[in-house]
Symmetry: C2
Subunit: 193 residues, 2 copies
DNA sequence: TGTACATCAGTGAACGCGCGTTCACTGATGTAC
DNA sequence: TGTACATCAGTGAACGCGCGTTCACTGATGTAC
């Protein structure tokens, strides 16, 4: 389909990818132009040949993070379904896994950022709300026949809230207990096998 | 009990109170020494007579925000219980109210900050995790006889996640729909009247 | 295929602003007698 | 009760650092012939 990307395009994508990870690791405010460029193997001066501003990079990074983690989640869901689980069970187990608890920078961008989202300028709020909607839709698709949008919203909120609180409590035992509690609650209610 | 507070103590409390609101409105990074002092009716130079550092203020502000919003929540819960609701129903309705959706700066500090919490330095992480535990305990107290800590954790996570996503989607209709969906889900499951 | 030149991605120094922190000073509060 | 002095809360100017942004320049890529 696409012909081979130009050098410029390759570099651009590399910067965005680095930023998408830094964004989830450090938040909207914890991501600096010079840092990102350095991690992409460049000097900061070249930044404005690729992006109009720091915010423009952030907007792209939000979308990129959403696409990447959605793809990763789909992969895990399909692997889990291949082992005989329902789509919902697969999603819940993947989202509330220990790997996701620890892998913030490659994980769900909504879980990484949602308490900061309402505070962002329109430029960053728009792609952020898109990611929230994307998450709800992903849950909706995983629901069995007859699942309502309301159920999808509540499940999405529970997934996000659980991961955040578990991350805050820290990995050792308490965090894991929180994940397990939510897996049990969600699955026994929405997927009683 | 306490004798009347000194001028110094009064001022100190005023600064912390302003900071507790700014913290929830703007996040850990959105709160500046000069801003807070100005809102407290002072100049920024006097700050270090009250606090060893910006972080020291933030630590106090986190605790203060937790105490204040817990007190406010208790007030609403008792009012709701007086109208015949169970403790849990009262809590869920108060937490997932439109007033709380819009009143970030006077609301739950966990909902305002939780995605940023895991990133904080130990100085700020400690009081933050305390607030998470406090929220879970508040839910636990509202649960009917036989309610488990696991249930309290999941409900707390759902409350926090719902409020955040609803705030991100914005007040008009979508946010409210999200609140309503979560109220229904939680109450029909944990308080079927 | 090879050479000359134009285009363009990336470099690195510099600017300007915001912000946390410091400090010498002032004006008010309060205590000693 | 009144005066003299010490203590202390708050002021405002200044410092230094980090960081987003700009810009003149360099070295590499690629095109014309």
């Amino acid at each position: 389909m696409d012909s081979k990307p130009s050098r410029r395009e390759t570099t651009h994508e590399r910067i965005v990818e680095v930023a998408a990870r830094a964004l989830r690791r450090n938040g909207y405010n914890g991501i600096g132009v010079a840092d990102v460029m350095q991690q992409a193997g460049l000097t900061h001066g070249g930044f404005y040949a690729h992006f109009a501003s720091r915010d423009a990079l952030l907007a792209e990074a939000i979308e990129r993070a959403g696409r990447d983690s959605a793809a990763e989640m789909d992969r895990r869901i399909q692997a889990s379904q291949a082992r005989g689980h329902s789509a919902l069970r697969a999603l819940v187990n993947a989202y509330l896994s220990e790997a996701h608890l620890q892998g913030v920078e490659g994980g769900c961008v909504v879980a990484a950022l949602s308490s900061e989202m309402p505070r962002q300028s329109p430029t960053l709020l728009a792609p952020s709300t898109d990611r929230v909607r994307g998450l709800v839709e992903m849950v909706q698709r995983a629901l069995p026949e007859g699942g309502t949008p309301e159920q999808a919203m509540v499940i999405a909120a529970t997934l996000v809230g659980t991961l955040q609180l578990a991350r805050t409590l820290g990995t050792p035992t308490q965090g894991k207990a929180m994940l397990a509690a939510a897996r049990n609650a969600l699955l026994s209610q929405y997927d009683p096998t």
